[in-house]
Each structure stands twice: as structure tokens, then as C-alpha cells.
Symmetry: C2
Subunit: 302 residues, 2 copies
């Protein structure tokens, strides 16, 4: 028996994503009503409600369902994960870091609201995300919610997002960065939160150890594939298509997969990762349909 997995052809991924995205957008909006100080809430909402793909929260909900629970119980956590992701985008875009002008098709947070508010909006989203999980998660044993908070705290901190950004900045402009360093950067910078999103859903849904291990491996491979695709698109796309500055990696001489492995080899690497990610979930049959389809669609975006 081969472990090759064919995505379910009758599954309408586009409709699935669109419904889930709408649900997440509406919940995010309801979680973050305008309060005083207005300028701060406006800055938070500006980036959070700018219409991202909501990939991480969607993965979280899907993993919760794969584990056998209703997606509903993971909704506060899924939204919190998007807040953490948004925080990292706002801070990474700051002049002291990547100095980005555009993000998600509009001016970056500090270009719109100024640096002080951008820093504080990021801090606020991060702090609020943990409050949200602790306060709003219902119908789940408290011990599981604590495990989720531990995972996400780790993913956002020095072993995850923040550490990855430090390594990324440290290697900027350096030639001769190897694939191992590159993988380490991306494992932290993109991989950690994506993995934590899948794991959080699994934990909340009550997944057993084997399911959790498989989902973790799936998430690691998907996360890395996702980053390589991002690197490739930065090189081959237009600003209009991806909604943020492109070609910036090359002009900042950032180490990327295409710059280290070449474009063709990077594409082959993505395809291999996605194939493995899909086979990680083969044993779950139909329950894994959305997660398998998501991985498959990533290959098609190249």
C-alpha cells in the first residue's frame, strides 16, 4: 500500500476557505471593538482586520475537527493566533527591522499610525491574545487551555517568531548562508507559529499522542513549504499580486531558498515537502480532507 494521498477532488477548498475566513473575520471584529484609547484600538484593528488569508486560524480549527471536536471550541484560540501573527508582521515591518512600506495591500502600520502606536499596537495584540484564550475558551478542560497558552507563548517568543526575526536580521546581507541556517531561521520565523496553530487545535480537540505527533510533522513540513513558496513569490511575482513590497528580499540581500538553492531546486523542495505533509495525514482518511487539500493547493500556487 502506497502512502501517496490524492486530495479529495469533490472537496471545494475555495468555498471552505471562504466560509472559514468570513467566520474568523467576524469573530476577530467582535473580539476587538473600538474602545479608549481610540487611537490604539484603531491601530490594532487597522492591521488585524486588513483581510489576511487567515491560514493559521483555519489550520487551528481544522486540526481541532480532525481530533474529533467541534471547531467552535477552538475559535478564541484561532483568533488569538491571528493576533499574534499580526503583531509579528507589524513589528517586523518597523523601520528598525525590515522597514516595510506596504503589507496586505495597504500602508504598513507605522506608515499609517506612526512608530509609537505601531509598537504599542503589536504589544497590545500579543497581550490581548493570551487574555482572549484564557477568558473565552469554554467547553474544554482548563489543563488543555493552559497547554495551548504554553505552546503559543513559546511560538511567539525567543524560540519562535522573535528568535527567528533576530536570526533573519543577523544574516541579512551575508553571503554563503547555508540551507541549515536558512531552515533554522524559517523554522522559527514562520514554522513555529504555524506548527503551534495546528497543535493548539489538536490539543483543544483532545487529540491522542499519535495524532498530535502526525499533525506536528504535517505542520512542520507545511510551514517550511509555505515559507519557500513565499520566497519564490517574492522573486517572481508583482507587488500587486501579493499585496506587499516584492523583490525586497533580493534588495536587502536576505538569504532565501531561491538565492541559496536556485529556483528550480526550491520548487522541487516544496513539492517534496508537500507530498510528505499529505502522506503524514493519510491514515486519517476523510477527517484530514481540508488539511490535505490545503497542502495540495500550496503546490498549485507556484
Amino acid at each position: 500500500m502506497t502512502m501517496n494521498v490524492e486530495p479529495n477532488r469533490s472537496f471545494d477548498l475555495r468555498a471552505y476557505l471562504s466560509i472559514r475566513r468570513a467566520r474568523i473575520d467576524a469573530t476577530l471584529e467582535s473580539y476587538l471593538a473600538l474602545e479608549e484609547p481610540r487611537a490604539l484600538y484603531e491601530a490594532m484593528r487597522y492591521s488585524l482586520l486588513a483581510g489576511g488569508k487567515r491560514l493559521r486560524p483555519i489550520l487551528c480549527l481544522a486540526a481541532c475537527e480532525l481530533a474529533g471536536a467541534r471547531a467552535e471550541i477552538a475559535l478564541p484560540t484561532a483568533c488569538a493566533i491571528e493576533m499574534i501573527h499580526t503583531m509579528s508582521l507589524i513589528h517586523d515591518d518597523l523601520p528598525a527591522m525590515d522597514d516595510g512600506d506596504y503589507r496586505r495591500g495597504r500602508l504598513t502600520n507605522h506608515k499609517m499610525h506612526g512608530e509609537a502606536l505601531a509598537i504599542l499596537a503589536g504589544d497590545s495584540l500579543l497581550a490581548h491574545s493570551f487574555e482572549l484564550i484564557a477568558r473565552r475558551t469554554v467547553g474544554v478542560p482548563a489543563q488543555r487551555t493552559l497547554a495551548v497558552i504554553a505552546e503559543l507563548g513559546r511560538a511567539a517568543g525567543p524560540r519562535g517568531l522573535a528568535g527567528g526575526q533576530v536570526e533573519d536580521l543577523a544574516h541579512e546581507g551575508k553571503y554563503g548562508v547555508g540551507v541549515d541556517v536558512l531552515e533554522d531561521i524559517h523554522t522559527r520565523k514562520t514554522g513555529a507559529l504555524l506548527e503551534a496553530a495546528v497543535l493548539s487545535g489538536a490539543i483543544l480537540g483532545g487529540a491522542d499522542a499519535l495524532t498530535t505527533a502526525r499533525l506536528r510533522r504535517y505542520a512542520q513540513r507545511l510551514g517550511l513549504a509555505f515559507q519557500i513558496v513565499d520566497d519564490i513569490l517574492d522573486l517572481t511575482s508583482t507587488c500587486e499580486a501579493v499585496g506587499k513590497n516584492v523583490g525586497k528580499d533580493a534588495s536587502a540581500r536576505k538569504a532565501t531558498y531561491p538565492s541559496v538553492l536556485g529556483l528550480a531546486e526550491s520548487r522541487r523542495h516544496v513539492e517534496m515537502l508537500i507530498e510528505h505533509a499529505m502522506s503524514d495525514l493519510a491514515c486519517f482518511g476523510d477527517r484530514a480532507t481540508p488539511l490535505v487539500a490545503l497542502a495540495a493547493s500550496l503546490a498549485q500556487s507556484l
Copy 2:
């Protein structure tokens, strides 16, 4: 029967604080060993282990004991609170905000490590603090730990530290700020985390509703008194004595209690707050000795 409380004269507050501070310093050090990326951990440790007064963690442990539990069970939370406090100091000192050069007697984080690392060290401390509480708290029902995380997430976010800093910046250089605005700023900026520190200890210790309410009021009054004292010292002290830039409030034309109420009236306000804070705890007798002594000592620092 009068509600006036005399601090216990036989209690050696100085020795108590010194022992607690040493315990907290050692635990913080053990919680944050040097890892990769080294530069990030060094930046985090630079500000965290710079030897602050550790007032917030000490309050947390004392409230836990007042509630009838061992201080030990609140130690991870107490350390997490100091991490959150340190994060807010690092970010508030950034050039885009208060642009401070010195803090706790040494160069500010961004002056020493650069802006990017200072921002990421703050983010890391904030994220790590929640992981720490979720992962290391033992011997406490999980539901209480979640309640603590909710309190601290609130205190660090837009309704607390971050919101207070936004309001503080918004009123900089403006004349005619009233006492009510000033109190709102400080309730968020200093009060929220100090209150959360006391409440967290109370929650972990299993305090009943009445005890919690009294401790909350004590913390609110102490927090405000603490801020007014800080404002007064900024005006009357030397840089050497307080270890950070002084006279900055006046040169930045920040609204402070002395600038709004005058020095004499500010002192009277502090004394009244402290007296009320002490009487909030009168009914707890000897169990409140450290918290009462702490409040009393604040009056003496003027």
C-alpha cells in the same frame, strides 16, 4: 474601633525585601538561561537582570501568603510579572516613545543593543511570561492559573500598560491636563500591572471574594501612590539616586501630579492614599504585615 493601622514595628521590612528580592533574582536567572539566538537572550537578560526593586513580584508573593497559601506556588507568576514590567520599560524607553538613555542605573536596552533587539527582547519577555505561568505553575487548580493569565493579559494590553502609554504620549506637551485624565493614565500605566500582581497572588492563593476585593482596593491605592511618589522624585531627586534620567517629565512637559496639583498637595495625596491602603488590610491582622509595611515605607521615601 478606629480603622487606623500602625505598621508592625518589630517587622524588619528591609530584611524581608532583601530576602524576597534575592529569591526572585535567582529564579529569574534560572528561568532565562542563555540560548540561541544569543544576542536576543542577552538583550532580554540585560534589562531583566538589571536589579530592579522587584516590587510587583514581591507584592504577588505577599498576597498569595495573605490568602493562606505558600508563596512558592506564585513564584512563576511573580517572575512573569517582572518580565512584563521589564518589557514595558524597554519599549517605553524606545526613541519613538520616551527616548530614554538610562534606566536602572545603566544604558537603556536600545542604547546598548540597538532598536531592533530592544523591540524583540520586549516581545520575547512578554510572550515568554505567559508560557512561564502556563508551564511552571504547579500545585494550583488549572482554572486559577487561567484566571491569572487573563488578569495579566488585560494588565499588559490596551486596557493596561499599552493603553496608558498611548494616553501618556497623547497628552505630552499639553497644558491644562486635569487630575482625572492624569489618574486615568496612571491607573493604566502603573496601576494595572501592580493591581494584577496583587490579584494574581490572591487568586493563586485561593482568596475568597471579600479578600480579593480588599486586596484590589489596596493595590489600586498603592499603585497610584507609587506613581505620584515617582513623579515627585523625578522633580526633586538626582539622577544618581534613582538610576534613570530625572527632570525628564518637566523637559518633556509631561503631565505629572506635582505639575497639576503642586508638590505639597501631591504629598498630601500620597499620604492619604497610603493611609487608606493600610486600612484596607486592617481586618487581616498579622497576615497583612508585609503589605502594610510596604505601604508605610512608601510614605517614608518622600
